[in-house]
């Protein structure tokens, strides 16, 4: 589904990703871990098509299409969803109006029937309920005045409605207390299916107790330096990253 080959990317001219390769198949859950500044968020933003994040070498294909040639909205319509590390507040644009536009445009591009407003509202309320978010939040400005946890749950709520084929969750777990983490994990797990894939970018092994990954990768210095099964996360939890990044430094030397 997602094929990243020898990806080099710059942020505002500075090279952050230096030859990253990753292959994600339908039905899989991958976790990308790594120390601060290793390029985790850059990878998420490059994949979603953020301005100033530029691919300088290598290739990324998603459902067989070259991502670099697609606008952010085209990537989303193709089934890519980025759960933001810091969801932005948009005063004056209501959550519901935003969801309506997102669903209308995404569904139209995917050749799906448009949802009538009653169905849309019902689905939105259900999605809110699933992530323990009061339906009143639908009327408020997008993320406006939401707490950190509410913002993250709002991300998952959007994901549930948009039903992406690839969910890329950028530190969706950071800043969450254990209850909120469980709610978020439950939402993500409900989306797991043989047609979908999930990539979790995270700092903490804790999330992986609730969303059990098929594969764990360690990102350091802009490359994946180690991949393994779910047990790798536990090893990182007890040993930290130094034993790996030390190797990488030696390799690079």
């Amino acid at each position: 589904m997602l094929e990243v080959k020898d990806l080099h990317a710059t942020v505002a001219g500075k090279e952050i990703l230096k030859g990253l390769s990753l292959s994600v198949k339908a039905g899989e859950v991958h976790a990308i871990m790594g120390p601060n500044g290793s390029g985790k968020s850059t990878l998420a933003n490059v994949l979603a098509g953020r301005d100033n994040y530029e691919i300088t070498a290598g290739s990324v294909t998603f459902h067989g299409k070259a991502l670099a040639e697609l606008e952010p909205e085209e990537r989303a319509r193709l089934g890519l969803f980025l759960g933001f590390q810091y969801p932005v507040e948009i005063p004056g644009v209501s959550n519901m109006e935003f969801l309506k536009a997102a669903l209308e445009e995404t569904r139209a591009a995917q050749g799906k029937e448009p949802l009538d407003s009653v169905t849309l509202l019902r689905k939105a309320r259900e999605a809110c309920k699933q992530v323990d978010l009061d339906a009143q939040f639908l009327k408020r400005g997008v993320n406006e005045g939401f707490s950190g946890g509410e913002k993250k749950r709002n991300e998952i709520m959007q994901m549930l409605l948009l039903e992406p084929t690839l969910a890329l969750l950028d530190e969706t777990d950071s800043g969450l207390d254990i209850d909120a983490l469980q709610v978020v994990a439950k939402g993500v797990n409900s989306l797991r299916s043989p047609e979908r894939a999930i990539v979790l970018v995270t700092h903490y092994q804790r999330l992986l107790d609730y969303i059990v990954p098929d594969k764990v990768h360690v990102l350091s210095g802009g490359r994946i330096i180690k991949s393994g099964g779910k047990e790798l996360a536990h090893e990182l939890e007890s040993r930290g990253y130094a034993w790996l990044t030390g190797d990488a430094a030696a390799e690079n030397a």
Partner: protein
Amino acid sequence: MVVHAAELKQAAIQGLTHVTGADGLADFRAHARDTLAAVAFPDRKTEDWKYTSLKALEKDHVRVLAASTDTPALPDLGGTQVVLVNGQIPDLDSLALPAGVIAQPLSSHQDKATTDMVGPFTALNGAALSDGLLLSITAGADVDGLIHIVHVASGTQAASAHPRLVIEVGSNARVTLVEHYIGSSPILTNAVTRIDAHCNSQVTHYRLQSEGSEARHIGLLEFELARDARVTSFQFMQGCALRRNDVHAVMAESGSDLRMKGIFLARGKSHIDNHVCVEHRVPNCESDQVYKGIAGEHGRAVFNGRIHIHDGASGTNAELSNKNLLLSNTAEIDTKPELEIYNDDVKCAHGTTVGQMDATQLFYLRSRGISEIDAKRMLGTGFVNELLLAIPDDAVQAWVTPWLADALTEGL
């Protein structure tokens, strides 16, 4: 060719020689012609016109139009319509007005034609005035529905129209007025509107300016509020070849309350200049102004908001906010609050900002499958949304919402 201010004035005066009008306004016109002869037309050195040049005006633009017989397509807001084509007042006997509303030619009450502010264009309006419209709301009347006054600019050649509208709202009366300017003509509309809100009256006023991009519009809007009068004015204004709006409000008696909310847009190569002045002359009045501006492409917008609190106006509460959004690097917005306060016992707050569309917000919307155009339109609408939501009349809101969406999409 750029016409010098003095030449424009000469052309305006010469153009008046064949203007005739209602006898009842003869003295008023003569006085306005004297004033016109005495005042200078603004140029770049005129402080009040620093950001707005008259280069969009040719000499022909000050030539007064003959009466038009056009019957244009009119927007329907569901109220009582009064239509002025090129400033010409309609046949007042044929108007079906709701109870409590009386329409008369202004020439029947020459004394009511005067304004507080008299600049060159107000003087030109008076000098060129054949007749104006005087609407009186009788004391105590609670007028049903909207009074929808539609000003149509008609004609394909450069010329000018000079509508003058005086509205007197009697004591304890309540009314909703819509001043609506339409038409795709290149003529100069030089409009003067004065609204007198008498004791304890309640006025909801809308000013909708949606003429085409070729229009030239210079307008003065005056309010005078008597004791305990409450006026709420919504102003939705679209830039054009030249638009200059002067709003002058006088809190003339205690207890009066004025709220003004405006949205102005300058897209393409359009220009819009708002000069708003609120004068607190007496104690214990409140005024609140919230204006939001959006400029894109090569659009240019100006906002100058002045609050003048006189010596005797203790207990005044006055606020002014002007926030602006720039959609491109080539657009320009100049905003300037001016406070003149001669009393210590007042509350007065003001704030102005100019910002750009937030790239992070734009990316967030697009990352959810929303196209760039729609995302920009949503953010633009979101920027002014608090003002849209404040519109109390559904028919007006139903007009403003698509108008704004179209204006925001233009050029995206």
